[in-house]
């Protein structure tokens, strides 16, 4: 049974810093797509029991859009971009130039959201990967729109096969008026976090 080794405060700081850099690149891309000013919250990096993960995404039954990616390359894990349904609809309205989205969402809307997720995740992972000099490659996106707990349970099931806690690297973002809010969540595999921490060490020694 693999477990996450206890992570030192210094390492948590470093993980916060890299997720801030990744999320910063992602929201820059989002800003360019939407022309909206988007601000980032301070990243939260926590080793949490499985039951807590969905609570941090707005509540267990909150209807959310989840864009899910596997992360391949030098370090493995899963990435989930989550936004509330109203935020996703707001985003679609902006992307489609004022036309509100169909209810339920059609193929076109779902495809647009997947593409946004793709751009965000690629920006996030590329920024972190080039900083740490480890390749991080996202899979194609998978889409779900349902209750937050139902959307995240697949990620928890996969972690449960090897461990009993989730390391969640979460950065929340929002427009100033809060009409659009969302979360980037990176959940590294327990076997992969060492690779990231070693790369951070290497970087800090050099700096």
């Amino acid at each position: 049974m693999a477990t996450f080794h206890p992570i030192e405060e210094r390492e948590l700081d470093a993980l916060r810093e890299i997720s801030n850099i990744g999320a910063g690149h992602a929201v820059t891309a989002l800003h360019q797509m939407t022309r909206r000013v988007i601000t980032l919250e301070v990243p939260a990096v926590n080793l949490v029991p499985f039951s807590e993960v969905a609570h941090r995404l707005g509540g267990l039954e909150e209807e959310v859009v989840g864009l899910f990616f596997r992360v391949y390359g030098g370090s493995r894990g899963n990435m989930l971009v989550v936004m509330s349904r109203t935020s996703a609809e707001h985003l679609l309205t902006v992307l489609f130039d004022g036309d509100g989205p169909k209810r339920p969402l059609g193929d076109m809307e779902i495809s647009a959201l997947k593409e946004v997720g793709n751009i965000l995740t690629s920006s996030y992972l590329t920024a972190i990967g080039s900083l740490l000099k480890i390749p991080l490659i996202p899979s194609i996106p998978a889409f779900s729109m349902d209750m937050a707990q139902a959307v995240v349970d697949l990620l928890l099931i996969e972690l449960a096969e090897v461990t009993h806690q989730a390391l969640v690297i979460q950065t929340d973002f929002a427009t100033r008026d809060k009409t659009f809010t969302g979360h980037f969540c990176l959940l590294p595999d327990p076997g992969s976090i060492e690779t990231i921490l070693t790369a951070i060490d290497r970087l800090q020694k050099k700096g």
Partner: protein
């Protein structure tokens, strides 16, 4: 429902009640809620299962007693028998085990369906009748199991509430 206390059963956890409780899972995706009850006495329990099969020996964690299908059923059954339920009188229900994501490439590996298959086959082996089977599909579900009525109320975001009687 009235003002019966609702006990939320989180992922990997389980609970049994002698009656007069509602046991709930809010937001099942590929996980499965396994419920067992003895209709005669109104005792019952619920397990929030993550994985098929039984606990491998290498898995020494104790904080998720309902993580595996077989161990979850065993724990529920023995919990109910400790309260005085008769194994021959037990009835079961399954809710959940959906496929939550759509993609051009299958990223999910079908764990929801594997959970459901595993639980069905274990119930069959133990001779526990499966009274309600609301599994599969592509939607998340919330489930509330009311005791002593042995009634399941299942909610989806698109379909609203439905009711199933396990008696």
């Amino acid at each position: 429902m009235g003002d019966k206390p609702v006990l939320s059963v989180f992922i990997g956890q389980l609970a049994v009640s002698g009656g007069d409780h509602a046991l709930a899972v809010h937001g099942l995706g590929s996980c499965v809620a396994l419920v067992l009850c003895e209709p005669r006495t109104g005792m019952g329990g619920l397990a929030h299962v993550l994985l098929p099969g039984s606990r491998p020996r290498t898995d020494t964690t104790t904080d998720l007693p309902a993580k595996y299908a077989a161990s979850a059923l065993e724990a529920l059954r023995s919990g109910l028998c400790d309260l005085g339920a008769k194994p021959a009188h037990l009835r079961a229900g399954l809710v959940g085990g959906a496929k939550m994501f759509e993609s051009e490439m299958d990223l999910e590996t079908g764990v929801g369906a594997r959970n459901v298959d595993s639980l069905r086959s274990i119930l069959r082996d133990q001779g526990i009748p499966l009274a309600t089977d609301e599994t599969g599909g592509r939607q998340g579900r919330t489930v509330i199991f009311s005791l002593p009525e042995c009634r399941l109320r299942i909610r989806t975001l698109r379909g609203g509430w439905t009711e199933k009687d396990l008696r």
